[in-house]
Symmetry: C2
Subunit: 211 residues, 2 copies
Amino acid sequence: MADMQKIPEASRRRLALLFALLSSYGGDKITSIQIQRMTGIDRALIRKDISLAGFKGGVSNGYKVQDLREAVRAALGLPLPDQKRFCCIAGLGKLGAALMQCGIFDESPFKIVAGFDSRVNRTEVLSADFPLYPAAKMEAVIPESKIDFAILAVEDDQAQLMADRLAKSGVKGIVNFTGQVLEVPEGVAVENVSPLLALNNIVAALQSSAS
Amino acid sequence: MADMQKIPEASRRRLALLFALLSSYGGDKITSIQIQRMTGIDRALIRKDISLAGFKGGVSNGYKVQDLREAVRAALGLPLPDQKRFCCIAGLGKLGAALMQCGIFDESPFKIVAGFDSRVNRTEVLSADFPLYPAAKMEAVIPESKIDFAILAVEDDQAQLMADRLAKSGVKGIVNFTGQVLEVPEGVAVENVSPLLALNNIVAALQSSAS
DNA sequence: TACTGTGAACCTATTCACAGCA
DNA sequence: TGCTGTGAATAGGTTCACAGTA
């Protein structure tokens, strides 16, 4: 946190991808050429990113995977596995319920500690290994449980309202599964993972490469 | 398709977001300042993007929402609602099953027409309003059903294998819900929507804005 | 030899600033 | 007046090319 230079946005996103890649990479060493093959990112740019992350440990035959992974983690300010960051799920419909049950953050520092839904019967019918609350309790539970992040999986027409309440309750980041574009206060980050937006991005990308 | 200039990647992504915003916007007119408020994107940049999309219909008191939306759609090469594009879901675990049941592409040109899982009991136990197949049928069903896009929701350790088979079967775009970074052939686009990657991106973004 | 690390060149994207217009 | 549209200025990102190294 202290040594952090400003890593530009574009580099940050590539480094986060690299971190994911390294986390599941089954080898001891890796070169920029191998990373290029796996990610499609130019190898010179990969080396620049790694250099931006402050890692100088590459030797002439590649990077040591564990060292590189740790350097990237530190440069991005990602928590260690034992520095738990608490999350909640807002919206326990089909998608929200599935996300809460399918162990999406297993083996990561993120931990889901609460679920919310405005329909009381959802919170009563479902079960999880963390408590489920009616949405009315959000403003109380979120600060109390030190929840910093939320997964938003409500219906589109409730999305902005819920985002407002999450932000007001102190949530600092929202993973947005809805199709709604969220307006949030400064200091709150949104990452859009709507499948429809993703597909539209894919279609647009394919069009423009097919000239 | 014919008139398409190369819209740069960054602009394309913002325009796709703008398209989503306009699709649910409940007004007749909109200005670049309002769009800035809702998306956080600088208003001058929004006007540049719109201009890049080839739309010159703005009058002194804003853009007509329907016209702008249609222009953005056309510029990105997105299909009209009646030009259906066929998709499949690969992986019918909790998440895949939820995605298939929760009407994620309702009111969009995308239509899910098949589901695949390597576990026969998943394809037999679940039901949907489209057929479910054992993964062994992928190579036959995908070309036959003219499937262009896939939602990948298998376990991480099967992700690369399934991506290979999807690409070999002719799929041109993959919405990747797994934590695995996918290596795909040229001409295949991947959009990563892993919740863990999304959260890591959020944490990294928050760090670097808190200097 | 096969890689990393990096300055310099190049290219792309963003912001500024203002003319034009309803 | 309050907006759009856009050339010019600036900032930022990417690629090149090569010295340095195990």
